[in-house]
Each structure stands twice: as structure tokens, then as C-alpha cells.
Amino acid sequence: MYLGKVIGRAVCTCKDPQLKGLKLLLVTKIDGNGNPKGKPFVACDSVGAGNGETVFLCGGSEASFPFIKTRPPADATILGIIDNIAD
């Protein structure tokens, strides 16, 4: 898993039927101090995260597990909203 920050939202009408109803958010990976790194990407949302929130995500085949009934083709999913990060 890794940390990320929600920076926006992607809307997509024409998509794989299994992605229907899923919220797609624009996320950038961050380090432990909150500094962004790498390029932004799109992730499915399983917890109801919003713009500006710090979240944690999972990649790979595990990304489709929260949506077990539909098994959407996803390679990044938001799994939780971070309350705080402490040293």
C-alpha cells in the first residue's frame, strides 16, 4: 500500500460496464511528509474520499477486491482516509 492525496475527479461515461457507478478520483502519490512525488493518476474510490484528503491506496490485483461483486478492471483503489501521520 502507499499514501496519496486526492487532487481532483475524473468523469468517464463510456467505460467498461464493471466500472459503472464507481467514483474515479485523481490522486498523486505522497511521501510521509506530505510532499507529492511522481505523476498524478486515476484511482477507484471504495471509502468516499473527497478532494484534498490524504488517503491510502493499494495497487495490483488487490485493487479490485473491495468491489468483490463486480471485479472491475482496476489497478489502484483508495482503501482508507488518513486521520494523521505521526513521527
Binding site: M1, Y2, F56, C58, F65, I68, L79, I81, D83
Partner: protein, 100 residues
Amino acid sequence: MEICKVIKKVVSTIKNEAYKNLPLLLVQPIHLDMRNKGSEVLCIDFVGADLGELVLIMKEGSSVNDMLGLKEAPADAAIIGIIDSIDADDKKIFEKSNSD
């Protein structure tokens, strides 16, 4: 499996139910000479590691699922051990008591 250093404690209330109440720790993979290696990894902590400790992590989804006792949990990294010492080429390169 990889050798990492625990750098942050992460608290999350709203999260996937598979994570139960297990602690989440942010770890930094390190080289044997203690330099940072690659990007940080968020892990489920199964052993009770603390900040600054060297730990052994496993990055494999199906093994994490086995440890959680679930079939399809969306988790792919876990801390599975706290490192006491590391030997390489007959030389001790890390001993826990000397580190802090």
C-alpha cells in the same frame, strides 16, 4: 522480503473493513549500508514494531490475505518481523542494541 526502517505511524478511521484494528506503519526500504532504497511502503503491522526499528516486510497480496485469515482482502504489504541483527560476509552490519 525486504529490510525496512519504520518512519511514520499512520492513523486511519475510515478504511476497508479487512484492516480491522491492525496498526499501519509507513516504512522505508533500505540498502545494507542503511541508505534509502526506493519509495516508502505502507504496511499492516502484525508484530508490534516501533518507530525507528528495522523490520522485515513482505510485499505479496496472497500471503497478507493468509495472515489476515481472509480470502480477498485488498492489502499487499505487511511487517512480519523485527530485525535483531544482520550479518553479511561474516561481518555484523547491524545489531539492534547499537542502533539507538
